[in-house]
């Protein structure tokens, strides 16, 4: 039972190693992003990755090698079939083929790739500018006063 997992991981590591040596050029997408958005929600991806790819683990603009192409992404989804720690885990779940078909994985991948970059320039966010400027100006004073 361990051999397929080891094989999968080896394949993934090889893919990553290959991709790490190159510019992170993302390959074209053939899935249906609209269908993928629904699947993304139904399968609870938002629990960790947020409704739009920003969350406990970002999906947008991360440069993650797992998102280089649909094949690597799909292999990553299926890589943890025999990993069942005793303690609760918030690690990435396994997605076997019987619960998430190749076509469904392809659509989710398409949706992830369609997610907008939402990291405005700091200078364009008054709140964050205020936080930075205030920290520069503020001085600590003793006692219970600010």
């Amino acid at each position: 039972m361990r051999r397929p997992v080891i094989g999968t991981i080896s394949f993934l590591l090889g893919s990553i190693a290959a991709s790490m040596g190159q510019t992170q050029e993302l390959e074209s997408v053939i899935g249906d992003a609209t269908s993928g958005a629904q699947l993304y929600y139904d399968h609870g991806c938002h629990g960790c990755h947020g409704y739009s790819g920003y969350g406990r683990q970002d999906l947008n603009n991360t440069g993650s090698p797992w998102l280089t192409n649909e094949e690597v992404f799909r292999a990553f989804l299926r890589a943890r079939g025999n990993e069942a720690p005793i303690l609760p885990s918030t690690a990435m779940p396994n997605y076997p083929k019987n619960s998430l078909s190749d076509e469904m994985a392809r659509d989710i991948y398409a949706y992830i790739r369609s997610m907008p970059d939402n990291r405005p320039e700091t200078d364009d966010i008054p709140t964050l500018r205020t936080i930075l400027e205030a920290a520069e100006q503020r001085e600590f004073s003793k006692g219970r006063e600010n």
Partner: protein, 649 residues
């Protein structure tokens, strides 16, 4: 003569003569109220073998029966008046409770004792005992001293047990007053009431005379605040509350005397600090604000760079103090640990787990199942070292750092030379510059990270904290709710400079704590021109939302901002992971974890409890204005709730 408690030979059970009196009176009342038929069908109200409340008893408890006119007795100076005076003498500001017949004497005294009638301690009306104790927890964390919660017999203790359990794990001092009335409803009383949670309280007592009761209250306070700090319980018989005190003179309250290190050790530490070229203070949470002030004084006296736990728990070293940070050189040649581990010398007060062997009658175990587990105050590093251990981790002295610092300072003042003083002044200047740079660099990095998904809906948890900060940074604020589940972004974005800036975690990780603790912190804040921020998780709120009413009723300055992700998302992720590795897919992982179909409208919930509110708000561009309205409301002394719909994490 009192009977001895068979479970605790050094304790006495209450006298029985008055018991007979009350028993007779209550039975007469029941007899007046019920029909002959029902009376015939009901067993004797106080049969020793019948423990469930009878119909008559329930009728009386529900107010359906006119109480009897007992034999007239004149009580001009009830014992409970003296108990309230004792609470006043100890500086207890608040007693949180929902009413219970077993402490009606104390409750009446809190309301009416004195001329004009008493207002300190103030009776805080809670809707659940769990909330009462959480309030005491939040208050104590922000002020470093106990408030009281009053519990009704066996029922109140069990309702409160979860919150007591959490307070035990954070070593929070609090006074738990339990009413006991052995003659009324048998199910509500017990021979040894405190046994129900003895495993997770520090100390308890069940006095048998009024004199003993006053002494016990004084001792309970001292026990609560003396390391190892923790919740203490005093079981007070209703008869002691109602008896005539006559000429009994209330003894003065003598505060606790907490031991620090001996002068020889203090001198040795002082010498090491002065001889070091690059001294360091590693600091954890102190007991009270005075401990924080002492630590600041020590750091300034020796020019030591200092770590802090202020962003993780209350009573931490001020984060923006010029000496707080890594300093200009992280190769420290002497490190003094003050409630935090050091490679050289650590002073660390004992924690309640040191009492487990003595008090864990239920054999819960408390961490002994896991090697080296220490239920430290949140933010402190677990310390597996034993007292006096000489190892690479240094020497651990199990003694209170706060009480020791003044002794070290005293020795320092005697030893310091003008040359050393000049060197220290120069070092302080360098460290201040380096620490400021380190803080600003870390903040700039955090800002870059926190802007991810800035404009997305639902609202990112980072934006929620970021939008709050400019609105409160120049106010006197306290973040009272735990923040782990809402991202904890204040740790990187806000400045925690007060002993009460952030009150830390639940203690044992139990849900239902955030609102009650925030209300307790707001009790402290109300008279101190301060206000409380509560980033309130939706799952947590639903355990005991009635504390919202307490906030409205007592006009508490609390701004609650919902982290409403409409789920228990931590568990959602757990179930998803498990379903995935079992090969069953994650589509059904939401079952039992999400709060949808229907969504809960927290704005309406708050409104129904009398708290001004708005929401749900999903559009992040509307958040800042809503927060501003909330801040203005709480600054005017009115609690406010904003239902913000947020990203899961």
């Amino acid at each position: 003569m009192n009977r001895k408690n068979p479970n605790h030979p050094n304790q006495y059970l209450p006298k029985t003569d008055r018991r007979k009196f009350l028993k007779g009176a209550a039975t007469s009342a029941a007899a007046l109220a019920i029909s002959p038929t029902s009376k015939a069908q009901e067993p004797s109200a106080y049969s020793a073998s019948y423990t469930a409340p009878s119909y008559q008893q329930m009728q009386r408890d529900a107010g359906m029966v006119i109480p009897p006119m007992p034999n007239t007795r004149t009580v001009v100076r009830p014992g409970s008046d003296l108990m309230v005076q004792a609470l006043k003498d100890m500086g207890i500001e608040f007693v949180a409770s929902n009413p219970g017949s077993s402490f009606e004497g104390i409750q009446e005294s809190i309301a009416n004792y004195g001329d004009p009638p008493n207002h300190l301690p103030e009776f805080i009306t809670a809707l659940h005992e769990e909330s009462s104790v959480d309030m005491a927890n939040g208050y104590a964390k922000s002020e470093g001293k106990p408030m009281a919660a009053m519990l009704h017999g066996t029922l109140g203790i069990q309702h409160a047990s979860m919150s007591i359990f959490q307070a035990y794990h954070t070593g929070t001092p609090m006074l738990l007053l339990v009413g006991r009335d052995a003659g009324f409803i048998q199910a509500h009383t017990a021979a040894d009431m405190a046994a129900m949670c003895r495993s997770f309280t520090k100390w308890d007592a069940q006095p048998t005379t009024l004199e003993e009761c006053i002494d016990t209250l004084h001792e309970a306070y001292r026990q609560a605040v003396t390391p190892p700090c923790g919740p203490v319980m005093v079981v007070i018989d209703i008869e002691l509350q109602k008896e005539e005190a006559q000429n009994f003179q209330l003894p003065p309250f003598l505060p606790a005397v907490i031991e620090g290190i001996d002068t020889a050790t203090a001198r040795d530490i002082a010498r090491r600090l002065l001889n070091a070229n690059n001294p360091r203070l590693e600091t954890g949470p102190f007991r009270t604000p005075e401990g924080v002030e002492s630590a600041v004084q020590l750091a300034e006296l020796v020019g030591a760079s200092t770590s802090t736990t202020a962003a993780a728990a209350s009573m931490g070293f001020p984060q923006r103090h010029p000496l707080c940070g890594p300093g200009s050189d992280t190769n420290y040649d002497f490190v003094l640990g003050l409630e935090a581990a050091s490679p050289h010398i650590t002073l660390k007060r004992p924690t309640v787990n040191s009492l487990t062997a003595e008090r864990d009658e239920m054999n819960i175990g408390f961490g002994s199942l896991q090697e080296d587990y220490v239920p430290n105050p949140p933010g402190a590093e677990p310390t597996p070292m034993q007292e006096g251990q000489q190892a690479s981790q240094g020497t651990l002295l199990n003694i209170d750092a706060q009480a020791s610092i003044p002794i070290i300072i005293s020795e320092l003042s005697r030893l310091i030379t003008p040359a050393q003083q000049r060197m220290i002044n120069e070092r302080k200047r360098q460290y201040a510059s380096a620490n400021r740079e380190a803080f600003l660099t870390a903040l700039a990095e955090a800002v870059e990270e926190k802007k991810r998904g800035w404009d997305l809906s639902p609202i990112s948890t980072a934006r929620l904290y970021a939008e709050l900060w400019p609105l409160i940074m120049d106010e006197d604020w306290c973040l009272a709710s735990p923040s782990n589940f809402s991202g904890g972004h204040h740790r990187q974005l806000w400045e925690h400079n007060k002993p009460y800036s952030f009150l830390g975690t639940q203690g044992a990780g139990g849900m239902g704590y955030g609102l009650g603790a925030s209300v307790g912190a707001a009790l402290a804040a109300r008279s101190r021109d301060r206000f409380v921020v509560n980033v309130q998780c939706d799952g947590d709120l639903n355990y005991a939302p009635g504390a919202l009413w307490t906030a409205a009723h007592h006009e508490l300055p609390m701004l609650a901002v919902m982290h409403n992700n409409r789920a228990w998302h931590q568990e959602y992720m757990f179930v998803q992971y498990l379903a995935g590795v079992r090969g069953r897919g994650t589509e059904r992982g939401h079952i039992g974890c999400v709060l949808r179909d229907p969504f809960i409208d927290y704005s309406k919930m708050a409104e129904s409890y009398g708290v001004a509110s708005e929401g749900p708000i999903e559009d992040p561009s509307l958040l800042a204005a809503a927060l501003n309205r909330g801040v203005e409301s709480v600054k005017a002394g009115k609690p406010y709730l904003i239902d913000a719909i947020t990203q899961p994490r």
